[in-house]
Amino acid sequence: MTFTGWLTIVAFVVILTALAMPLGSYMAAVYGGEHTVMDRIVGVPERFLYRVMRVDPGHEQDWKAYAKSMIVFSLAGWLVLYLILRTQGLWSFTGLNPQGFHSAPWNVTFNTTSSFLTNTNWQYYGGETTLSYFSQMAGLTVQNFLSAGVGIVVAVALIRGIISRSGKSLGNFWHDIVRTVLYVLMPLSIVVALVLVSQGVLQTFGAYWTAHGVTGLTQSIARAPVASQEAIKLLGTNGGGIFNVNSAHPFENPTGFSNFVEMLAVLVIPAALVFMYGKLVGNRRQGYAIFSTMMIMFLGAVIVAYIAEAHGSPAQHAAGLHTSVIAGSTGGNLEGKEQRFGIAGSALFDVITTVTSCGAVNSAIESFTGIGGAVPFANLSASEVIFGGVGTGLYSILLYVLLAVFIGGLMVGRTPEYLGKKIEAREIKLVALGILITPLAALFSTALATASSAGRASISAAATGPQGFAETFYAYLSQANNNGSAFAGYGGFVQPAAGNLGSHGITFADLLGGFTMLFARYAPILFALAVAGSLAGKRIGPAGLGTMRTDNGTFVVLLIGVIILVGALTFFPALLLGPIVQGLTGHLY
């Protein structure tokens, strides 16, 4: 561990908070129907989009109508993306398939399509050997925007349900999704993309190069329009790399500075949404309480991961390597990490990407130490509520808030209420289902994949002993949480050569993963919207003497306790079998 390493972490937290607060206020204006600085710039395109889509943005929708629009829109997006990816060769006339790639097989494409629709961006394929520039842009980049947008609008709808004083309306889905893309995601993406290009990230439609290296060896160098997709991949907590090694690739993440910018880009919207929440409910302290909850758990994860990675791995120690810091060397577990990021820049990125549903990586998570690798496991086990994905994190933690209010109410023996609204049996049933769906999907799929030989076929040859189980468990935990990061040895696609000729998918892993992602994305969304609909109709009562406060330190502690309790009770036995056993022993398998 080094001073600059700790300084990176502190600076990150300070700058993140400083950026997220004003962005939160701005977003509150965007969704609260107030005037914003962007009205002049995007007002015209906004109205144009409503006209093209034949939408009346003022038309109010109850939760069922809102949910129906969201589901139909997602289904249409799924079909179009699947078609684009399966007809990859046909789009060569655009000039955006310079390597002449064919389509990937149906099973891998099913997985990929489901993955990008659900904001997961789990990738069984390597970008530079599988997809054309056209597929990346017109296919994946579009869903990077839209899947992020869907997450955010669901959170906004839930907030409207919580604060609504009368009626059943949650707003209008089409209005919200258009404003999310035009007012929030697009402007931020343009800024981040250009900052990244200034650091050396690529943005070209040119073909791959063949270089004649210094010693005479030839080197083929893949290129792509990277920056435009990189920006939204991070800002939308999507995480699907244009190259196989994602943000570890020097063309995606060329410098220590770009690494810092990318980390900020992942967390800025999830953090801003929490401040937006405080503003929209008319009590900023409610937002601060949730922000504190998230930040405490986040810092805990970062500190553990950094210390564990700086300590080095049992394999390194067995090989006689010296893993402490020496002059001119970072020391620590640098296996699967880039020199320019070092240990702190890799550990921090790793925590950021797994607390959110991002899943972009700048280092190989599978090569993290047992305890360092247990941190992403723990983050995923907390169901992506430590900031979480854009929107998904906020609506998920609000379900936990309601659960904590209910448990708190039981302890003090009063009817639980939140922001003046009584929380009754119907809401708690919906909340419990919404919270339990994701862990159930993760554990069920892991069990299925571990118990069947078809599932075990995906485990990499080098992953012996607990590592094989860890790979499998992480794969389905990540897909169920719509995260997309991986113990990347776990395979679902066999590709003998670039361009997909002769390639085949592993149907079991592709389909199980695809269905896990779809189910664990849309079921909790429906429960969250149902909770919103149920709350929207309720009268707001005045706070009394006995009302439990939800904006102070006591509540923060209660909320952390509830999150850890639910996560630990569900996942602890499975975690013991994989990463924890590796963290507790120096034994090699």
Binding site: L194, P225, N259, S313, A315, G328, T330, K337, G342, Q467
Partner: protein, 220 residues
């Protein structure tokens, strides 16, 4: 009825968002980048004598093909078998096939407690010691090898090595190229990049730039 309306709006919506987010947005970013940062946007090509030798950002293999009976020896994948060229600074171990393959990047995915990891580390350490032992003034052991020289990089095409790694290799380079050691160390300092913002990340020695500078100073 409302369902039909949702379907029509959805299809129109996907089409218009594809146009805006999937076509217009990447085109605009490409246009601006190609004008404002043409070198970066295209990948920081490095030319020597009019020939493209690589990209400043992409690590490459500084190795020579093994030649037997006038023929380049190929491995089972049809790639040339190579040995490190001792006249050049060597990049970090790479998990791609062949080494430093910038068209099919991959992680090693070696676990922290795996025997396979131990074996890979031992092989990397042995190769590093064998390459540098004769020139290094002290006793070069596993404990002296910097971690970046033993651990596989993430991308497989890490363009950089640590300063400690460069200083150990400097003894070999100076001896083989008949250069004074301070001269080599001065070149290392020239091609060492600092941390982002002064704290983010680690100092890096860009291997391609350094090796090209060596060729300029002492010929090939």
């Amino acid at each position: 009825m409302a369902l039909r309306k949702d379907i029509i709006t959805s299809i129109l919506g996907i089409l218009v968002f594809t146009l805006v987010c999937g076509i217009l947005y990447p085109l605009v970013i490409t246009g601006v980048s190609q004008v404002a940062f043409p070198g970066n946007a295209n990948g920081q090509q490095v030319h020597v004598g009019g020939r493209l030798v690589g990209s400043e950002l992409i690590g490459q293999s500084f190795a020579d093909p093994v030649v037997k009976h006038g023929k380049v020896v190929l491995d089972k994948n049809g790639n040339p078998v190579t040995v490190p060229d001792p006249r050049y600074f060597q990049t970090r171990p790479s998990a791609t096939v062949p080494s430093d393959n910038a068209a099919a990047t991959t992680f090693s995915n070696l676990g922290p407690n795996s025997v396979a990891t131990l074996q890979a580390l031992q092989a990397n350490i042995a190769a590093y010691i064998q390459l540098n032992r004769r020139y290094y003034p002290g006793h070069l052991t596993a404990a002296t090898v910097p971690v970046d020289a033993a651990d596989t990089s993430a991308s497989g095409i890490d363009p950089d090595i640590s300063v400690a790694n460069a200083h150990i290799q400097a003894y070999r380079i100076a001896a083989i190229r008949h250069l004074p050691l301070p001269e080599v160390n001065r070149l290392i300092a020239t091609y060492t990049g600092g941390r982002g913002l002064g704290f983010s990340g680690e100092p890096t020695v860009n291997v391609l730039e350094l090796n090209l500078a060596l060729n300029r100073v002492s010929g090939r």
